[in-house]
Amino acid sequence: MKIANEFEVDQPIDDVWEFFDDIPQVAACLPGTTLTDEVEDDHYQGNVLISAGPVKLEFAGDAKILERNNADRSITVDANGAEKKGRGQAAMMLDADLNETATGTRVDVTMDLQLSGAAAQYGRGLVKDVTAVLMDDFAANMQNRLVAIAAGLDPNQVDAVKPASGFSIALRAARTALARVFRRFFMPYNPELV
């Protein structure tokens, strides 16, 4: 399934691009993610814990940076993992594309996510909504860390947006889903929001 998101940080594009060079920093921004090993350059192993309402899945796997394009300021990551209790697998090809804006940097993220097993059963709608919530958290964490770096502080001392509780992710994802239904019935048609 293809999922597209975007977010903005009010930092110059060069700083953001540099930030993307530091994978442990990037990983630290993603809620529920811990890196366990750096196998080689641009190849990491780690765990991702996703907890949304009653759903709790913990994936262990690999992430490789396939491409860094300094000219376009874009990066391609290939990640895949298996749920630790055998309840499914996930594979993701992620492209992040940095663009300069008047106030900072916009990051366009497109993901091609393939889920099998338990995760796949939760439905495309729910997966997209949960992903959107995680992306928001990622953006907020990244913003905080960039601000800290700019101020010469240790970004690891910055309070991360608390790894969201399963309940709050579920609640926020549900709100997104409800908004979508509401829009479908009561708002003028807008293909970008469907």
Binding site: P54, G86, G125
Partner: protein, 792 residues
């Protein structure tokens, strides 16, 4: 004074549903409402993969959680000879997987704990290691050269084919095609859907070691069959098993099969000697329990230029999932698929059918139909429309020309069924008149001139409802009769029990109406009880629209036995001979002196207080009814639609339904059934399907992906009726519960295809999602929706 039958709630009374009184007050008693002392709770671990070998199951983590009482795996079940169980179609089905998992959602382990939350935590703590195998998600993949063998557990099974079966006259059909002026063809897929009753499945097993009695509260449409099955599978004596099916929140065929969860809860209760409750969640219900349809249909029709159908060839490839667990009562491998074309006078037909194993959920059920009749009628009406188009004939005229005539009953269908009665042309005329057929055709032409796409679709069909007769229909050898037991108390009030089991059909209301019709006892004086095998007479349950044709007939017959005894009592009370009295509703009277009479209530009192010499006291009896034939209702559904060529979205303009289900017992309930059925027909045509991606993941295991129509989307329906009494049913009634689901989908699809006439599009597979219609409109080709599907 003669009783007014409608006033006492007899035939034809639109009596309010008795059961609704408790339902609308939240006083229904469903399985999940039942709480027994010391009850434990069971949850199931399901396979995340469609096809994989189980390498290791580590259950130690579950036992570390306080409150977990028992964990069961396939290995443990197999040690008790319960690894596998027989299916209703003479195959075997895993209760808990032992060697490998064969579909996503298959039961792999279960945890019994003090409460359902602990049980679920226990499930989470079980670690299973799988070795993924190549999944098979459709019949084409099942017979590909590199296809893995799904049923490697079966000795002698070397491929993924379940059966090959045929019926009809191959030589005569070949001859018809040789003589044909035109041969019309069609090729389509009826997608997998799920009945999705609002209440999922569940059971509470309560084994009492001190009495050796097993009581099971269970969501089942057929409690007596379950009792027999449990007795055979669990090797318990039948008289020590009591199955209670309390209020059911819908069934639609989904609650006919025996599911592994039931069996596991029973074994757990026997092992733990405590009641064990299992309540399935909705996802579990959607991904693992009985589905409907999933058949590829190919057909050819031999036609004469004047519009006469000479012969039909059909071939079906049916996808049965991992186990051949079709819950169907006929001896025919593809169910009643060959009931197709029963309303048309066609001399020759031949059907070949092949069934396949795939890595999908097993347990095909008759989702609101007699088994496979929905597919048969959909195929028939799509084929008929394609043939009319190929001949350049009007679709209504083409049907009229080929209908069986009113004076041609009983009529032998091309596949050997015997239809009983009908007025097909009259139904069509009522429908065409109601929709304003000629006006719509003009309107359609005018709209086309302005670039708008209007279409009209007709679907006419007669279908076999109410299995059996026992010659041809049985479940595991048990004949498809049904039963009723009537006990009239001394004050003339009565309790009626039947072997059927209501799931929303309103038996508590309508059965009492039949008693009122036969005996003149007001319907409100008759209480109806079903679903408890310790009290109800043996019956085969409710599905396939068989309640009224079979159990309803038994209610009539038992009432007549009561009337016969009452007549003797009346003769005794009136001091005349039995031959000298006559019956009018609710009263016997002396033929020569009509003022001298006794009411049925007076006879009831006398049965307990003043019986003639030599007569047994009391007024109760039972009846077992084995119908001579199926009943054959007829229906004509007409839909008009507008297709938006820019988006592929189609809107329903009007729907007209003309149903002839013989005598209507409760017209309000009949109309409710038709509207419900049309809603499901619209759902299948428009949005509802269970499909799979290339890995065998079920895409449709939740209500964000499996779309059910709400009141918002559902169009309005205009209902009309024609009444042709069933000649062999005691009160002339035919089945009705499923007609609209069976005949409805083709009306919607035919309407959309009619709107696209002239664009080269002959078929779009259901559901007609906007992207499929858009592709057909813009690319001018047929669109098939077979799995695996794109998941974006």
């Amino acid at each position: 004074m003669t009783l007014d039958e409608v006033k006492i709630g007899g035939l034809g009374a639109s009596r309010r549903r008795v059961e609704d009184n408790r339902f609308i007050r939240g006083k229904g008693n469903y399985v999940d409402d039942v709480v027994l002392p010391g009850m434990l709770h069971m949850e199931i671990v399901r396979s995340p993969l469609a096809h994989a070998r189980i390498k290791k199951i580590d259950i130690s983590g579950a036992y570390k959680i306080p409150g977990v009482r028992l964990v069961m795996t396939g290995e443990m079940m197999a040690a008790r000879n319960l690894g596998w169980m027989p299916t209703l179609s003479y195959d075997t089905q895993a209760i808990l997987a032992t060697d490998k998992v064969r579909f996503q959602g298959q039961e792999v382990a279960c945890v019994i704990a003090d409460d359902p939350y602990i049980a679920r935590d226990g499930c989470e703590a079980i670690v299973i290691e799988y070795e993924p195998l190549q999944p098979v998600v459709n019949p084409m993949q099942a017979v590909a050269p590199d296809a893995p063998l799904i049923r490697d557990d079966k000795v002698n099974q070397t491929d993924n084919i379940v059966f090959d079966w045929e019926v009809g006259d191959v030589i005569g059909t070949d001859q018809a095609f040789a003589e044909a002026d035109v041969v019309s063809e069609i090729d389509m897929h009826y997608p997998r859907s799920h009945p999705s009753p609002i209440e999922a499945c569940g059971s509470i097993a309560d084994y009492d070691r001190s009495t050796s009695k097993l009581t099971v509260y269970m969501t089942t449409q057929a409690p007596h069959i379950i009792r027999a099955a449990v007795s055979l599978v669990a090797e318990l004596p039948e008289h020590m098993i009591r199955i209670i099916s309390p209020d059911l929140g819908g069934g639609f065929g989904n609650k006919v099969p025996v599911y592994p969860g039931y069996v596991m809860s029973i074994l757990a209760s026997i092992l733990l000697e405590q009641p064990v409750k299992w309540i399935e969640d909705k996802s579990g219900n959607l991904i693992s329990t009985g589905f409907g349809r999933d058949v590829y249909l190919k057909g050819q029709m031999a036609l004469r230029n004047d519009g006469k159908i000479l012969g039909v060839r059909m071939h079906t490839d049916s996808d049965h999932g991992a186990f051949f667990a079709d819950a169907q009562p006929s001896k025919f491998k593809i169910g009643l698929m060959h009931s197709a074309f029963a309303c048309y006078d066609i001399p020759n037909a031949h059907l070949t059918a092949r069934g396949y194993y795939t890595n999908k959920a097993p347990g095909g059920v008759a989702y609101r139909c007699s088994f496979r009749v929905t597919e048969a009628m959909f195929f028939q009406e799509r084929m008929v429309q394609a043939a009319a188009d190929d001949l350049g004939m009007d679709q209504a005229e083409f049907r009229r020309k080929n209908f069986v005539r009113d004076d041609d009953f009983p009529h032998r269908t091309p596949f050997g069924f015997l239809t009983d009665s009908g007025q097909y042309e009259k139904c069509l005329d009522v429908g065409l008149e109601a929709i304003g057929y000629d006006d719509f055709l003009k309107q359609k032409e005018e709209a086309a001139a302005r670039g708008r796409l209007l279409g009209i679709g007709i679907s006419t069909m007669t279908e076999p409802l109410g299995a059996g007769n026992s010659r041809e229909y049985d479940i595991l050898g048990i004949k498809m009769f049904d039963s009723a037991e009537l006990r009239v108390h001394m004050t003339g009030k009565a309790i009626l029990r039947t072997g059927a089991k209501t799931q929303g059909q309103g038996h508590e209301t309508t059965w009492a109406q039949i008693v009122a019709h036969e005996l003149g006892i007001p319907a409100e004086d008759v209480v109806v009880e079903e679903g408890d095998t310790d009290t109800a007479p043996f019956g085969m349950g409710t599905y396939a629209s068989r309640s009224t044709p079979v159990a309803g007939a038994a209610v009539s017959m038992v009432s007549r036995k009561i009337r016969a005894k009452s007549r003797k009592i009346a003769a005794h009370l009136l001091e005349v001979s039995e031959e000298d009295i006559d019956w009018e509703l609710g009263r016997f009277y002396v033929r020569s002196a009509p003022d001298r009479g006794v009411t049925i209530q007076e006879c009831a009192m006398a049965a307990y207080s003043n019986v003639p010499d030599g007569m047994e006291p009391g007024l109760e009896n039972n009846a077992y009814y084995d119908p001579p034939n199926l009943t054959w209702p007829f229906a004509c559904y007409i839909a008009t639609v507008e297709v938006d060529p820019l988006t592929g979205v189609w809107d329903v303009l009007r729907v007209v339904a003309v149903d002839d289900c013989g005598v209507r017992i409760n017209p309000m309930i009949v109309e409710g059934q038709i509207m419900g059925g049309l809603t499901e027909a619209y759902a299948m045509a428009n949005m509802q399907f269970i499909t799979f991606d290339a890995d065998g993941n079920c895409v449709g295991g939740n209500y964000m992906d499996y779309l059910l129509p709400t009141a918002w989307e559902t169009p309005g329906f205009e209902l009309h009726e024609v009444v042709t009494p069933c000649p062999h049913h005691p009160i002339g009634a035919k089945g009705i519960g499923e007609c609209a689901t069976v005949g409805g989908p083709a009306a919607f699809v035919n309407a959309v295809i009619d709107a696209l006439k002239g664009t080269g599009v002959r078929n779009i597979d259901m559901p007609l999602l906007p992207d499929r219609v858009y592709e057909a409109v813009t690319q001018h080709h047929d669109v098939s929706g077979a799995p695996p599907v794109k998941t974006d």
